[in-house]
């Protein structure tokens, strides 16, 4: 089909209606010592030490920031173990044996509404930095850096679009914890002194809309509104979301704060709520386990650090275990595939998708142009691919591959089943030389 691809074959309605299963007490929990943004870490505890939930047990060092590591349960530190991280690398994890008491660290407090109302932006930034809040939609960008902008902000956008197919983690979060989200938005608006907040959701989600029309009545004159945007992919990309919600078209590479806009994912907002209200770092999150390689797809609310192997049996195990499987952390369009199911849920894992491996033979490109029409940043993936095949650096640079957001639409829409996105990734390497 020679046409722009916008709708992606989806199975969301399979799991979107299921309430999340609370699985909060794995026997062992594993905390990563390194992640994609922070390659090194210091650990402050010794083997055999007792830790409390939320206790700071180490510090990750990134190139321009530091990130405290928090224990996500109470128990005993029993040593290090290697498991797969979301980024596909074998990483050292701190192994904590859960004592199921869930005793809190003494840093956890309850701030009264009056105290919160007095907090300034700088104080909030400090709290969020100490709680190691990051973008939970998958970017893992430190939230406090976003808070440090000195540009005037008048609109806060809440990204509840979750445009990747198959995932329903944010969907369930929005349905199940609307008050946390609303309070979180209020805190953020207070920090930036913003007049307006828009909760962006896909217009096809009538259930979320019903919940928030009710909830918003309890927040009169707060400036918070529900904003139904398009159902297509990649609507959740910030540029597309800002354009649809506010009508502002960002220039390539421009930061939203330039135009007075700041945007957060809904789960990040819940993280901010917990941090400001209780000083709590993120230790729980929603995930979806789905895909055609899983017997009973489900949503879960789990502690960060839960091994995925504990969750698979709760979904009825793998379907057709004799077939080759692809194991994806994140969405099917942008998520990373890991070489083993021995991985750990970190803060930014939104979903686990298990597919049966399909090997579709690659055909020659027929220049149908579907990839060009589908590309949200108006590149020409097929031309980039041809340039990469000839290793023509001039041409690659001229075709601007660095603007690519790796949304995967070019591979998805290719009628010849060519992995075009891979070529664009190669072109990015070329263009940086």
């Amino acid at each position: 089909m020679i046409a722009k691809t916008t709708k992606i074959h989806d199975t969301k309605n399979l799991v979107g209606a299921l309430p999340s299963v609370k699985f909060l007490n794995a026997k062992y929990l594993y905390i990563a010592t390194a992640n994609a943004r922070c390659p090194k870490a210091d650990v402050f505890i010794k083997e055999g030490d007792h830790v409390d939930t939320f206790q700071v047990i180490g510090m990750r060092h990134g190139p321009f920031f530091e990130q405290p590591i928090h224990a996500t349960c109470s128990g005993t530190f029993v040593g290090y173990e290697k498991h797969y991280h979301r980024n596909g690398k074998l990483t050292d994890f701190i192994k904590i044996e859960n004592d199921f008491k869930d005793t809190f660290d003494k840093s956890i407090i309850l701030r009264t509404p009056e105290e919160i109302a007095k907090l300034t932006k700088e104080e909030m930034t400090e709290i969020i930095k100490d709680c190691a809040n990051v973008g939970l939609g998958g970017s893992s960008f430190p939230t406090y850096i976003k808070f440090q902008t000195d540009k005037p902000i008048d609109t806060v956008l809440i990204n509840g679009i979750e445009c990747e197919p198959y995932i329903t983690a944010d969907h369930r979060l929005m349905l199940e914890y609307p008050y946390r989200i609303m309070d979180g938005i209020k805190y953020v608006m207070q920090a930036f002194n913003a007049k307006r907040a828009l909760i962006c959701i896909k217009s096809k989600y009538k259930d979320i809309k019903a919940v928030y029309t009710q909830v918003l009545k309890e927040y009169p004159n707060s400036g918070i509104e529900l904003c139904c945007v398009g159902n297509y992919y990649p609507q959740g990309w910030e540029v597309e979301m800002i354009k649809k919600a506010t009508g502002i078209q960002l220039n390539p590479g421009e930061l939203p704060s330039n135009r007075g806009i700041i945007n957060f994912n809904v789960s990040t907002i819940v993280g901010i709520y917990k941090a400001i209200k209780y000083n709590m770092p993120v230790i729980k999150r929603m995930i979806t386990i789905t895909g055609d390689g899983i017997n009973y797809p489900k949503n879960f609310r789990v502690r960060v650090g839960t091994p995925i192997k504990d969750l698979i049996p709760l979904c009825g195990g793998y379907k057709n275990p004799d077939k080759e499987k692809v194991f994806i952390l994140g969405g099917p369009m942008m998520g990373a595939s890991v070489p083993s199911d021995d991985c750990i849920i970190t803060k930014t894992v939104t979903s686990i998708i298990v597919f049966d491996k399909v090997n579709e033979p690659e055909q020659p490109c027929v220049r149908c142009g579907s990839c060009v029409m589908s590309c949200p940043v108006h590149l020409e993936p097929v031309q980039i691919m041809n340039a990469v095949k000839c290793a023509d650096k001039e041409r690659i640079k001229k075709l601007n591959p660095l603007r690519c957001i790796e949304c995967g639409l070019c591979s998805y829409s290719c009628t010849s089943k060519i992995p075009v996105t891979d070529y664009v990734r190669k072109a990015k390497v070329f263009a940086k030389l």
Partner: protein, 377 residues
């Protein structure tokens, strides 16, 4: 259970090239059947010849291209054969050669001698496609290459073949006994003869011509099918036919004026329904391989091809411009795709370019015709 790694994205949409090609074959089917009913023997012979030649050429080509490199060991023929073809020759190779064969059959005039068909088919597939590297790499439409080559070499040996007389009387058509196709009438003969073919019988193809191009009704069915299935890009069809329509109307206006027994609208429809315009727009212009890659370029491509077609019809010594103009437009497509300026965004510049192309072509048509440039003896 084994877990394998792969790069994102992990899902693909269902549409495939195979589906697109099967769609084109389905869309061609009514026309082929129609032509078979009218000229049973001719169609069968032409079709079998071109199908055989083109598929054989594709098969040999795949074999040569993947030939086993010479080494010291002895290999049985079976091994060599498997090395050449296993996983390399698939359904798509067969489909693409067959599409070319069907199109080539349908654009050959019924009066072409058999050796012209053989040579045309061979030249079309080899020089039009395989030498460039097979499916996806060719610049020119192979069927058009074959047709134009055969026409240039053997055109003087083409005979005019009348469709059987029952066909003419079927839809109460006019009683025609002339041997001229409608376009030779416009181009070589007297313009007043234009009234001899009424539009309805042209629509049903009650006139001499090539094997398949004349049955507008079946071509339209194919066009609608392809558009609904989105297997071709509507932009090319619309811009090509639209440009042709505008230019034909301008020409009609300047030849006949408004108060003549042949009104310009009649002339326009006459141009639209004659020759291979509709067939070319549906099956040849839209071949994705030989059209530009992005949407604005496709509009421009259709406009350029439309202008070329009408100019060849009006001002050149050829009755039929579709084949030639498609080949010329194919070259323009390559230029439009150059990385320095190809850009999938619509910009003001491009709209201005498209508009001025049409306006300039319209003006040129009007001026040339007013000063007697219209090619008729």
């Amino acid at each position: 259970m084994t877990i394998v790694k792969e790069n994102s994205p992990h899902i693909r949409r269902k549409a495939t090239v195979t589906r697109m090609m099967v769609d084109v074959l389905i869309a061609l089917a009514p026309t082929l059947i129609f032509s078979f009913v009218i000229y049973p023997i001719k169609t069968l012979i032409f079709y079998v010849i071109s199908l055989a030649i083109m598929n054989a050429a594709e098969f040999v080509y795949v074999g040569l291209r993947n030939m086993m490199p010479k080494d010291d060991q002895k290999h049985t023929f079976k091994e060599k054969f498997e090395h050449s073809y296993k996983g390399k020759y698939g359904i798509n190779n067969f489909l693409t050669a067959s599409i070319t064969a069907v199109i080539f059959t349908l654009i050959m005039p019924a009066g072409a001698p058999i050796y012209a068909v053989i040579i045309g088919a061979l030249v079309g597939i080899v020089f039009g496609k395989l030498l460039f590297g097979g499916l996806g790499s060719n610049i020119f439409n192979p069927a058009a290459v074959g047709m134009v080559f055969a026409k240039l070499c053997f055109g003087n040996q083409y005979k005019v073949v009348e469709p059987p007389s029952w066909w003419f009387t079927l839809v109460s058509g006019p009683d025609i006994t002339t041997g001229a196709t409608p376009l030779t009438l416009v181009n070589g003969g007297a313009l007043s003869d234009i009234g001899r073919y009424d539009l309805l019988s042209m629509f049903f193809g009650q006139m001499p011509g090539t094997l398949g191009e004349v049955y507008k009704i079946t071509i339209l069915i194919g066009l609608i099918y392809l558009l609904v299935r989105r297997s071709i890009d509507y932009r090319i069809v619309v811009s090509y036919l639209g440009t042709a329509f505008i230019l034909a109307f301008v020409a009609g206006l300047s030849v006949f004026g408004l108060n003549n027994e042949v009104n310009p609208f009649h002339f326009t429809m006459y141009q639209m329904l004659s020759g291979g315009l509709l067939f070319g727009a549906t099956f040849m212009m839209t071949d994705p391989v030989t059209s530009p890659i992005n949407s604005p370029s496709r509009w421009i491509y259709g406009i350029v091809a439309g202008i070329l077609t009408m100019f060849i019809r009006f001002f050149a010594a050829l009755p039929e411009g579709v084949g030639f103009s498609i080949l010329l437009a194919n070259m323009v497509a390559v230029v439009l795709d150059h990385y320095e300026w190809s850009n999938p965004r619509y910009t003001w510049k491009k709209f201005v370019a498209m508009g001025s192309l049409i306006v300039v072509a319209g003006l040129a048509t009007w001026l040339l015709i007013s000063f007697g440039g219209f090619y008729h003896a």
